[in-house]
């Protein structure tokens, strides 16, 4: 084996010195830059008592096969002590196609739950009181449509929208940047997002209409700084659009929430969360003149890094996930998803997802890390890394400002090519043995016992047929006249400047399907295709 000189850098390539001391923190003014937990700029956390007051929400992302199967998994997770739900939708749903569309073939129920109509949404939440359980929904391009379905189910359950609480991901900018599940062009998509922010402000005061997400940016191969900078700059873009709509900053900013990756470099991740809170607090106060503390407090969900999981020796993934989750907790996350050990193979099985949930419970109740707020604050190394992360992220934010904002930057391919370059650089380092991944490029094992004896979740190929049959019955049963009227009214609203949410609600209540509604919007808005860039 060739020997490689050991590099001391973070996983993002930031150099790390042998030791840090007070001389590294000349630029740090503790009163100004750190303050106490719960005080501006919230570097140390948004609450004075943090997890002593309330533990983070344990929220496992889940969805597969059919709404019926997924509903059973939700009831199981709630029975195991999970405290919130998080819905994974399948690719046809994410792309605004019904289960019986030609492009949906082979994809129905594979990566999440298929939801083609209000009927599927009713089944998904059968027996789950939406006034009590908070629900996060990972849906972006058709988020407004799916949210309308969710609110319609709450309405059927007799739950006042004022009480409904949860989070819609609804972050379209990171789709153009990283995950690529887009339908409409950026300006039309931004109009839909702004519609949901405005509607939420007026009707669902406890719902987060957008979860501004760095997770997918990081999974696409970005560095920690790129994840932070692009996410916060996306946040600035949503704020600009909402202000342009005529909303006041302190009316909507308190309900903006964030979603970050919890990757494998422990200290770099904690520094990232602390820098995120500090930058956002300053942006809110100085760039936008926010007065409400709630506008300045960055709340975030974290998920451990899917891309850090290995196919080889999958049980090692339990350890990786535990360390990543601990970084999220020490960084002050409000809610957390821990990945399951089998996710380099398939969607998680019930046994694997239970271990992942237990990992959070061990952290919360046994490890002691939740007893004191920001327990690593004041560490020379962590504080230095926080300052460096902040400075590097601000540099990117200024560059994107200079380009005229995130949409021109996306049009120019700027964040996309920055991420692709970082991802290729990292892969080259792994290939050269400069980055060690246990069980993959070092400490490999031929022992079968280290390998595959995990029971994998199999998605029944009949799921697609089941969904198609339900859709056919629905189309035959519903009042197609009122469906057509609702779709025509929606199109007129989309052509004008009215908020589309009331029209989407009417359409879903009439059991217009997701695909029909998205087709109506495609006809008005057009579709987006990206220029392939390497």
């Amino acid at each position: 084996m060739k020997t490689v000189e050991r590099q001391f850098t973070t996983i993002s390539g930031v150099p790390v010195e042998p030791a840090y001391g007070p001389e590294d923190l000349h630029d740090l003014d503790p009163a100004r830059d750190l303050a106490a937990p719960g005080e501006f700029p919230y570097t140390r956390g948004i609450h004075r008592d943090m997890y002593r007051g309330k533990l983070w929400t344990m929220r496992q992302f889940s969805g597969f096969a059919t709404p019926e199967e997924t509903n059973r998994r939700y009831l199981y997770l709630l029975a195991q002590g999970q405290t919130g739900l998080s819905v994974a939708f399948d690719l046809p749903t994410l792309m605004g196609y019904d289960a019986d569309h030609a492009l949906s073939e082979g994809e129905v129920g594979k990566c999440g739950a298929p939801v083609s109509s209000l009927e599927d949404m009713e089944i998904l939440f059968r027996g789950i009181p939406l006034g009590e359980v908070t629900v996060s929904m990972t849906i972006n391009s058709p988020a407004a449509v799916v949210w309308a379905m969710y609110l319609a189910v709450a309405e059927q359950q007799g739950v006042d929208w004022q009480r409904v609480s949860g989070t819609l991901q609804n972050d379209i900018l990171k789709e153009y940047i990283a995950q690529k599940e887009y339908i409409f062009p950026p300006p039309q998509s931004m109009r839909l997002v702004t519609d949901t922010i405005e509607f939420g402000m007026r009707h669902t005061p406890r719902f987060n209409p957008v979860s501004i997400s760095g997770y997918h940016i990081r999974e696409a191969g970005s560095t920690a700084v790129q994840e932070l900078a692009f996410t916060l700059r996306d946040g600035i873009e949503y704020v600009d659009w909402a202000l342009e709509r005529g909303l006041q900053i302190d009316e909507f900013a308190p309900r903006l929430s964030f979603f970050f990756n919890a990757h494998s470099d422990f200290f770099e991740e904690i520094a990232k969360y602390r820098a995120a809170r500090k930058i956002w607090a300053h942006v809110m106060k100085e760039r936008y003149g926010a007065r409400s503390e709630r506008s300045m407090k960055l709340r975030f969900h974290a998920q451990t890094a899917g891309c850090s999981l290995t196919w080889q020796q999958p049980y090692n993934n339990v350890v990786r996930t535990a360390l990543e989750a601990m970084a999220a907790v020490l960084g002050g996350a409000q809610s957390l998803h821990t990945n399951s050990l089998d996710e380099a193979y398939a969607l998680p099985g019930e046994h694997a997802v239970t271990i992942a949930l237990r990992t959070q419970q061990v952290l919360a109740y046994e490890s002691g890390v939740a007893n004191a707020v920001d327990p690593l604050g004041g560490s020379y190394f962590l504080e230095k890394l926080t300052l460096e992360t902040e400075a590097a992220a601000m540099d990117y934010i200024r560059r994107i400002d200079a380009m005229g904002g995130m949409i021109p930057a996306i049009d120019a391919g700027f964040p996309q090519t920055e991420i692709a370059a970082a991802s290729y650089r990292y892969q080259r380092e792994v290939e050269a043995g400069e980055r060690i991944i246990v069980g993959v490029n070092r400490f490999q094992s031929d022992n079968q016992a280290d390998g595959q004896p995990i029971e994998l979740l199999q998605i029944d190929e009949a799921s697609g047929k089941h969904q198609e049959a339900k859709l056919a019955a629905l189309r035959a049963r519903r009042d197609n006249g009122s469906v057509n009227r609702a779709l025509s009214a929606l199109k007129r609203a989309a052509e004008g400047t009215e908020n589309t949410m009331p029209f989407l609600l009417d359409a879903v209540r009439a059991y217009a399907t997701l695909g029909e509604i998205c087709d109506a919007l495609r006809a008005v808005f057009g579709v987006y295709t990206e220029t392939p860039r390497l």
């Binding site: 690719l91 046809p92 994410l94 792309m95 196609y97 492009l103 949906s104 073939e105 082979g106 994809e107 594979k110 990566c111 789709e175 995950q179 690529k180 599940e181 887009y182 999974e219 696409a220 191969g221 891309c307 290995t310 196919w311 080889q312 380099a344 193979y345 398939a346 969607l347 692709a420 991802s423 290729y424 892969q427 290939e431 993959v440 490029n441 595959q452 994998l456 998605i459 190929e461 295709t529 990206e530 220029t531 392939p532 390497l534």
Partner: protein, 131 residues
């Protein structure tokens, strides 16, 4: 000197996760191959037509959504219909072992699962084209 190996890297299906496809495309290019990257959401018809027009020796399909059993057999069928069985098809992504075996029985030259090294992929393609 022989002409460089030509490879079409394609992302079929609805999945947009293109990190792997882009890394492979860059690595093959750095290894001296000519790479055409199709971009996202290509149907089997679009992929086979592009392979014909670009006169490639290898098609690389990147699929992470679990839709490989629906997509890959259609690509293989179209290649047979167009008399292009000399084109080597390789698949990369989250493909369980038993599915990988089934795909190989249908004529797929190789399936690269998570953790496969770039070097192994480059070496395989060179060997397969030289055959």
């Amino acid at each position: 000197m022989s002409r460089p190996i030509r490879v079409l890297v394609a992302k079929p299906g609805l999945d947009g996760h293109d990190r792997g496809a882009k890394i492979i495309a860059r690595a093959l290019r750095d290894a001296g191959m000519e790479v055409i990257y199709t971009g996202l959401r290509q149907t089997p018809e679009m992929i086979v037509n592009a392979a014909l027009q670009e006169d490639v020796q290898v098609i690389g399909l990147s699929i992470l959504s679990g839709a490989h059993n629906a997509i890959v057999p259609r690509v293989m069928d179209l290649l047979r219909q167009k008399d292009m069985t000399d084109v080597k098809v390789i698949v990369g992504g989250i493909v369980p072992d038993e599915d990988a075996e089934a795909l190989k029985r249908q004529g797929v030259a190789a399936v690269f699962q998570p953790g496969a090294s770039l070097e192994a992929i480059v070496t395989f393609i060179r060997g397969a084209v030289a055959e």
